[in-house]
Each structure stands twice: as structure tokens, then as C-alpha cells.
């Protein structure tokens, strides 16, 4: 019994140690897409949280802070023209060769007769009231997506 406790405790401690050694927040890791500063019109301003001067309107290119999402670290560059968002560029996303694990995380259900209904109407996609991820799984849209993926 005592050995079991020691083993459990050591394992737990080991896992906690491993997890704690990883970054938990926004960290700017090495850019894979270099930030080219020379070819954009207008002033470049780094928008930082929380405080920082920003252009109130008009034109400009803003490089947002690297935002920590559950997907990973993402950083965008926004081009504003006449006060409206003209262009969005994503500068940094976590891992170029990481296939979206969506398909593995949210499995598309097995093809059922539902796809026949969709197939009869020969539709490409479905619009409806917003579904949650669980609702998606039950929906026709997931059957359509799966038919396309497989």
C-alpha cells in the first residue's frame, strides 16, 4: 500500500512539474513570417494591452499583441483605411504543419440516412440557428462535412 502511495505521489509530482515548465501565457516566440515594415502605408503602431497610444481614426497598420488562444499563439496585423478595417493579415499561427486537429477532436459521426436527405436536396451547406459543438455533431451539416472529408 505504501509503495502504491509513493508511486502515485511521484507520478503526480512529475506530471505537475512537466506541466509547470511549459509557458502558460502569451509568449512571443520566434516569428516564422518576418514582419516587413517597409512596404505598408501609414504609421505603424504597436497596440499593447492595456494602455498605449493608437490612431483614433483614418489610416494605419496595427500589429496586435500576440494573443494566447487555446489553439496557440496568434498575432494579426490590421490595416485600417478611412476608419474601417480594410485588411487582416495573420502573422503568426502556432505550427504550420499542424493539421487542424478539429477532425480528431470533434469527430464527424458515421454517415447515416440523414445524408440521404441532404443528398436528395443536393445542397452544399446548411444555414440554421447557431449550433453548439454538440449540436453540430447531430446536425446535417456535420454529415455534409464528413461526406466531403472522406
Amino acid at each position: 500500500m505504501r509503495r502504491a502511495l509513493i508511486t502515485t505521489g511521484t507520478t503526480l509530482a512529475g506530471i505537475v512539474l512537466l506541466l509547470s515548465l511549459k509557458p502558460h501565457e502569451s509568449t512571443l516566440h520566434n516569428a516564422s513570417a518576418p514582419l516587413s515594415t517597409g512596404d505598408v502605408p501609414g504609421p505603424e503602431t504597436r497596440a499593447s494591452q492595456p494602455a498605449g497610444p493608437t490612431a483614433t481614426s483614418g489610416n494605419g497598420t496595427f500589429i496586435g499583441d500576440a494573443v494566447q488562444t487555446e489553439f496557440g499563439t496568434v498575432q494579426v496585423r490590421i490595416t485600417v483605411r478611412d476608419g474601417a478595417l480594410a485588411k487582416v493579415d495573420v502573422l503568426r499561427y502556432p505550427d504550420e504543419d499542424r493539421k487542424s486537429v478539429a477532425i480528431s477532436r470533434f469527430a464527424l459521426p458515421r454517415l447515416t440516412e440523414r445524408t440521404m436527405a441532404a443528398g436528395n436536396a443536393q445542397i452544399d451547406t446548411l444555414s440554421g440557428a447557431t449550433y453548439t459543438s454538440e449540436g453540430y455533431r447531430r446536425s446535417l451539416q456535420s454529415a455534409l462535412d464528413q461526406a466531403g472529408v472522406r
Partner: protein
Amino acid sequence: MSAESSLRLVEPAMGTVFSFDVRTPATDEIHAALTSAVAWLHHVDALFSTYRPGSQISRLGRGELTVGECAPEVREVLDRCRELSEETGGRFSSTPAGRLDPSGLVKGWAVERASDLLYEAGALDHCVNGGGDVQTRGEAAPGRPWRIGLAHPADHEAVAAVVEGRDLAVATSGTAERGAHITDPRTGRPASALLSLTLVGRRLATVDALATAVFAMGEEAEDWLRSRPGLHAYAVTADHRVWSTPGFPFAAPLGAPCHAV
């Protein structure tokens, strides 16, 4: 028969699921744009999610930030919310029931931007579906426009109608899944004369936001829509009748009846 997709992706974000379907043959640039689009969605989620206490929108709502201190995306969204609010006589609002919550616009707007990313990378024919709000560009196949089914509000397995067209944005508002979450901001009470309302237009951000607003209009929706010729609507009422605006882009019937309400 469905046309061949060159690229498909399903990505959960913002509490729902986004489906990407690219018909233009995929190049490296389009692949990269798809990855960017996905990253963009997560970025938007991180900024705008009202479920995250640390998001800029939450902090702004609590007064911890001023608008000037927020990212330009936030300002843009709030500006457009204001415009839409005026346009709909207050029925669209970024502050329903007193909280700061521009969710009615954010999802459609994010999808529209994601679609732009793909388009600019050369994916001229694609479809992005963000939890039921759809932005299409181009066609599904050479000579064949996109066919977008409208989910039957009361039956997950049925299609109530099919919309057909090029460069269409389709958004549906309804009580179907999440329950009566749509509030009439003016009364603060649920808007429930309609079971679902689908708007069809060109750009999803506007279409998505207006769908929410028009849904809340209930019986007054038809009048309001008459003043907006660029928008088409299809509605299912609480007593299971349907109406649609004249010229609503129904798909030509293929033989099987698809109005089953």
C-alpha cells in the same frame, strides 16, 4: 452528386463549429490562407468572447479598458454595431439587456473576414459556414451556383428550403437550438413571434447582425424588409407558416418537394 471540394476543414471555435469548403484547386497559398483563417477565428474568439473574463470585450464591459485602449478590431466591431443599431431602430444592439455583447455581429463578421483571407489568396470559389451562418464566394462548380439548405427549425434532419446563388451570405436567427435566447433589446423580453428567420445578402457581417434584429422584429419584419431591397428573407412563424420576400433566391426545384413545414 456533390462537386469535388479541393479543401475541407472543420474547426471548433467560439463555442460552435466552423466548416470550410474550398472548390478552387488548392494551392500552397490557399492552404496557408486556410490556416490563417483558422487562426483568425481563434484570435477573434480570444478578443470577443464574453465567456472569457480576460477578453478585451469583457474587460471593456467591466470598464477596465477604454475603447481607445482596445485593439482596432474591437473598435471596428463596436462602430459597426452602432451603425446597425441606428439602421434597425435599436433592434440590433451591442448592449442587449444592459451588458456589452456584440456577439450578434462578431461571428458573421469573423466569418466574412475569414472568407476574405481565402479569397485574397486565390480561393475564388469557397464556402465558410460558421455555426450556421454562411458566406459563399463564387460557385460550387463551374456553371453551378452554391446551394445552401435552410435547416428546418423544428426538425434537425430536414431541410425547409434551398437557396441558390453566387457570392451569397446566408444567416439564420432562431430559437431552434439554444432556446429563446434572442431578446428584443427594446423590451428586454424574448422575441418569439417567429421560429426562425433567414436573411440572404452579399456580406455576412451585415446579414448576420440584421438577421438577429429582424428576427426580433417579429410581425413588423416584413415592413422593414420592404425598405431594404438588397436583402432577402425567409421566415417560419411560430404557428408553422412560412413567408418570404418577393424574389427570394429559392433554388429551382429538382423534383423532390422541399418545403415541409
